[in-house]
Amino acid sequence: EAAVTQSPRNKVAVTGGKVTLSCNQTNNHNNMYWYRQDTGHGLRLIHYSYGAGSTEKGDIPDGYKASRPSQENFSLILELATPSQTSVYFCASGTNTGQLYFGEGSKLTVL
C-alpha cells in the first residue's frame, strides 16, 4: 500500500545539536513537503520539493535545511537545534493539484 513513512517518530535533542528527520514515500509523487504543527498556528510549511535534487523555501524556512536525494526520500535538517524548534513535524507527498498524503508525524523535543 502506498504510504508516507517518517523516522524517527520521537526524538529528544539537545540545544545546538544536529537533527535529521527522514521521510520516505511510495506514492511516486514529484512533490514532497515538510510542515510543522504547533498549537495556535496550525500547519506551517517549512520546505518543499518538486522532485529529486530540488528544494524550495516555504513560509518558515529559517533554521532548517532540506534535502531531496531521490524521488522517494526527503529529509529535514536542523543543523543547530533550538528549543523553539520543539514541535510535531509532518512530511507529505502530493499531486500537482494539491492533494497531499501525510505521514504520521515526528515529535521533536529540543532541551
Partner: protein
Amino acid sequence: AQSVTQPDARVTVSEGASLQLRCKYSSSVTPYLFWYVQYPRQGLQLLLKYYSGDPVVQGVNGFEAEFSKSNSSFHLRKASVHWSDSAVYFCAVRNSGGSNAKLTFGKGTKLSVKS
C-alpha cells in the same frame, strides 16, 4: 499570496446535530480548495476537494462543502454528526495556476461531539 482563515478554533455539537465549519480564503486566482481531517495522534487525511464546476462537493463519511466565489468561502457541512467525527479539521488552498504546488493551511477547527 494565498491565505486561509478558520474563524472558529473550537466547535462543540451534540451527536446527531448538523454541523458547519467555516473557512474563508484569499487567493489571486481561482483556487483549488481542500478540507483535511486529523484524528488524534495521526497525520492529516483528505476529506474532500474542489477544483471547478459544481460548487457543492461531496466527501467521505457524509461531509460536503460549498464553494462561494463571491464570499471567498468554502464551508464544510454535515447533516448529522457522530461521536467519531471528533477531530481537528483543516481548510487548505492552492493557487490553481502555474506549477507552484504550495498548499497553505488554516489553523484548524477542533470539533468535539458530545453524546
